[in-house]
């Protein structure tokens, strides 16, 4: 360009008036505006849809990383956004972004746990997570109940997260007794649920375990249902032999619980209800406590007397009805006003309200009030013994007469006290004790020793050679007797017997005299009978039982056991003698003798027919004899000898008569001397 202006008029510098800015704007600006709107819109939407952030604390978070899903009923509803630690670094804190549509339902009842492959006695579970990785599972119900964003994760998956699939209850027991987490609940051998979350109770005096019973088995439960532990195996040895009871391998390994409803009338079971877990089926069946009576009212009894024989589990009777059991025995040392220390036996009892006649759900305070009233009317606790010999001790709550007025100490620790009365002894116990004392005083040992000595002497006699000769001699004797009798028969002994008849007559008359004396004897026998009747036979009967027991004891003493041995020896000897008797033919000879005797007796009887004649002859004979004697002269040697001889003869005849009578009456007595 040159500085020289162009020739001609200067060109008019024409410029359009500047247009307003909006008219100068291009339409294309809509595009970035739209882009901005879309982007912001998408950003806002994703921000508003991103749901709530919750924090879950886990003890260990194996396999969890950012992006690990949170699942609800196996559907992903969130993701782990952050993995950090709690401020004290003891736990892993996972930040989980939960979808907006489920976050309102996450409330204080929500449970979270990690799902990973698990190998347990119940089997292998969650195998899918081997490939897909660990995930967090959550469970919540369908009623929003206050939003919460801080949770504590469960250490183990709950047995059943969904409460609508069954009933969850609590079992409490004295000890776990072989139960572990995950142990099965059996009903007639079928697994119907599982146990979990085994833990100590508040004060550590027992254990509590959660039990979940699946539907439809949960309908089997009622408030009367009783649970018992079937862990391990039971060995029973009784009259029917040895029996070993193992429920299943699973219960052997991880324990188990069985339940049954023994009585009707139970109510509906609610979730979370507590039940007592009994040690065995027997105790579950027989317990007087209802199964939902976890913590029955307890009382302390302080006894001055020893409580020997009482043990944990002993019965407590309320006016004769079983109403509780002894739960503890202890010694309590007190100090009286003088500073003297003395010990008392402290017995703790638990009472079942419904056995006291109160409602089942009566609380401890009401039971105490009831007992307070009863105590004012004379109710006392005392130790009593039951059973025939008083072997079983029980605690008795009963009215005791003539007791100083006392009241319950409701503030006593650990349990309210019930005033006590001295131990009672029943009548049987008393008399049994007396009998025992007397028996103890008897010189049983001496008695036994002398009995043994006697037996030994008898044995010695029986063993003696002379004794063994007896049968042989006896047989000879009988032989002689037989010949003698036969001779007698031959020689017409009957005639000679006539003289004996005088003696017989005499004997008869003396017998008559004796008979008149018999009256007196009978009278005295009568007296004796009445005296016997007057004796206190009732007492004897009462003591009979105890005496029998004593005799039993007596038989157990060492001396008694020797006695049968001696007896046995004696009997053997006797048997040997009898055997020899038999061998010697004593019986046959006896028979022969008896036959001869019979004949003799027959002749005697014939002779008796001729008695008057005979008497006459006898008298004649005697007269002749006298005459003869007179002929020889009195005082002569001959007559003296003759009358002696006659007297002898007469005595002999009389003796023979007596022997014959005896043999006729009882031949055996003649031989055996009885």
């Amino acid at each position: 360009m040159t500085d020289t202006p162009e020739p001609g008029p200067a060109k008019l510098d024409i410029s359009k008036a500047p247009r307003p800015i909006w008219t100068r704007l291009s339409v294309v600006w809509i595009v970035p505006l739209l882009a901005l709107a879309i982007t912001l819109g998408v950003a806002w939407k994703s921000y508003s849809d991103r749901g709530a952030l919750i924090h879950i604390d886990f003890k260990d978070a194996t396999g969890v990383e950012i992006g690990t899903p949170l699942k609800f009923r196996e559907v992903e509803v969130g993701k782990v956004e952050s993995v950090g630690f709690t401020s004290d670094l003891t736990q892993v804190r996972l930040g989980v972004r939960v979808d907006k549509d489920v976050s309102p339902f996450i409330d204080n009842q929500t449970k979270f746990w990690l799902v990973r492959p698990e190998v347990s006695a119940r089997g292998i579970s969650n195998l899918g997570t081997v490939l897909s990785g660990t995930y967090i599972e959550g469970f919540w119900n369908n009623t929003p109940n206050g939003y919460q964003d801080q949770f504590k994760g469960l250490e183990a998956p709950p047995i059943s997260p969904d409460p609508s699939k069954g009933i969850s209850i609590e079992l409490s027991s004295k000890d776990a007794g072989g139960i572990v987490d995950g142990a099965p609940i059996l009903y007639r051998g079928i697994t119907v649920g599982h146990l979990q979350n085994l833990r100590l109770d508040k004060d550590g005096s027992g254990v509590i375990v959660d039990a979940f019973i699946e539907k439809p088995y949960s309908d089997l439960l009622s408030t009367q249902t009783r649970f018992w532990n079937t862990s391990g195996f039971s060995v029973k040895f009784d009259t029917s032999g040895l029996s070993l009871d193992v429920r299943s391998l699973a219960t052997l390994v991880q324990g188990g619980v069985e339940f049954d409803t023994f009585t009707s009338g139970g109510g509906i079971v609610d979730n979370g209800q507590s039940f007592r877990l009994f040690d065995s089926k027997g105790s579950a069946e027989n317990s007087i406590f209802q199964s939902d009576q976890i913590d029955p009212p307890r009382y302390s009894l302080l006894f001055d007397d020893p409580v020997q024989g009482l043990s944990v589990g002993s019965k407590v009777q309320f006016r004769g009805v079983e109403a509780g059991e002894v739960t503890g025995l202890a010694i309590k040392v007190h100090e009286d006003s003088a500073g003297q220390r003395f010990a008392q036996q402290q017995v703790t009892i638990a009472l079942s309200p419904d056995r006291l006649g109160l409602a089942r759900d009566t609380d401890a305070e009401q039971v105490s009030q009831f007992l307070e009233g009863q105590i004012e009317n004379g109710l006392r606790a005392r130790i009593a013994s039951t059973g025939l010999l008083g072997g079983t001790m029980v605690v008795e709550l009963t009215d005791v007469a003539d007791q100083p007025k006392e009241t319950m100490n409701l503030d006593a620790k650990p349990y309210p006290t019930i005033p006590t009365a001295p131990t009672s002894e029943n009548d049987i116990t008393k008399s049994a004790k007396g009998v025992f004392k007397r028996i103890e005083g008897l010189p049983i040992e001496d008695l036994m020793n002398s009995a043994i000595r006697t037996m030994d002497s008898i044995s010695a006699v029986a063993e003696n050679e002379n004794t063994r000769k007896v049968p042989g001699e006896l047989s000879g004797l009988l032989e002689q007797l037989r010949t003698f009798t036969a001779d007698l028969n031959k020689q017409g002994a009957a005639d000679k017997t006539v003289a004996a008849l005088d003696r017989v007559t005499e004997a008869a008359s003396s017998v008559l005299e004796e008979i008149s004396g018999l009256d007196k004897t009978l009278a005295s026998a009568d007296k004796a009978a009445t005296a016997i009747a007057d004796m206190p036979l009732g007492d004897i009967g009462n003591k009979l039982d105890t005496i029998l027991a004593d005799i039993n004891g007596l038989l157990n003493k060492p001396g008694t056991q020797d006695l049968p041995q001696s007896l046995n020896n004696t009997l053997e000897q006797t048997a040997a003698i009898l055997e020899q008797l038999r061998k010697a033919g004593a019986a046959e000879k006896l028979n022969e003798t008896l036959d001869a005797t019979q004949q003799a007796a027959g002749s005697i009887s014939k002779a008796a027919d001729r008695l008057p004649e005979l008497t006459q002859q006898l008298q004649d004979l005697v007269g002749q004899a006298r005459a003869l004697v007179a002929t020889y002269g009195q005082g002569s040697n001959f007559s003296n000898e003759t009358s002696n001889m006659l007297r002898e003869l007469r005595r002999s005849i009389a003796n023979i008569g007596a022997v014959a009578r005896m043999i006729e009456r009882n031949p055996r007595a003649f031989i055996l001397g009885r």
Binding site: S15, R24, S26, V28, V31, P32, A35, T39, V42, S132
Partner: protein, 204 residues
């Protein structure tokens, strides 16, 4: 720079065939194209597309580009994340291609177009031929940014093995495609004549 520009000479060049015509001429008599005077206001379109492209470029980098599901385990990768992942797995070539096509080229384009647009009419930074070359390179290379989108599209189509492995495009894929398209439009709407236009003298 004393070269006489067509505008200064009262002429207007045809954008299609390059023939110059007097300013008042409406249509190119040779090719029939509509003749349009060089107007700085046309830069508005460049900036508008540029901004739109920029807006979509942000989510394209923040959101996942690929969703890879292997055995039920879903993995989401952004563009940069994917490139880094490939680099970690020693696929250096692929990683560099992805990085170059998806990061370097778009970013370079943004810078180049913005530089060209800014330097229009700036007395001291009149460009001339280098600027024209730059514009040509931007226009040529811009389409290659779409390589990432194609990779995603092809992988999604090919890798559908159900539970074992499957690949799905993420929300970033659409954003990235839009962003690339907008930057291409931005470069296209830049009138190369403006490079020679110099400071606006119309208002003088």
């Amino acid at each position: 720079m004393n070269a006489l520009t067509a505008t200064d000479a009262g002429l207007v060049g045809c954008t299609r065939c390059g023939r110059v015509w007097p300013k008042d001429e409406g249509h190119c008599a040779r090719c029939g194209a509509h003749l349009q005077a060089v107007d700085r206001h046309r830069l508005q379109a460049v900036w508008a597309w540029w901004i739109a492209g920029m807006i979509f470029y942000i989510p394209a980098n923040l959101l996942p580009m690929l969703v890879t599901t292997t055995l039920g385990n879903a993995q989401k990768n952004t563009i940069v994340g994917g490139a880094i992942e490939l680099w970690k797995h020693h696929n250096y070539g692929v990683a560099m291609i992805i990085f170059g096509a998806s990061i370097m080229i778009p970013v370079g384009k943004f810078i180049a177009v913005a530089y060209l647009a800014v330097s229009v009419g700036n007395e001291s930074r009149q460009g001339g031929k280098p600027h024209l070359h730059m514009l040509e390179v931007v226009e040529f290379i811009g389409r290659w940014s779409m390589i990432d989108v194609f990779v995603v599209a092809i992988l999604s189509a090919l890798v559908q093995l159900g539970f074992v492995a499957s690949i799905h495009p993420g929300p970033a894929a659409a954003s990235f495609a839009l962003s690339v398209a907008f930057t291409m439009l931005s470069a296209q709407s830049f009138d190369p004549r403006l490079i020679w236009r110099g400071p606006d003298r119309e208002r003088k």
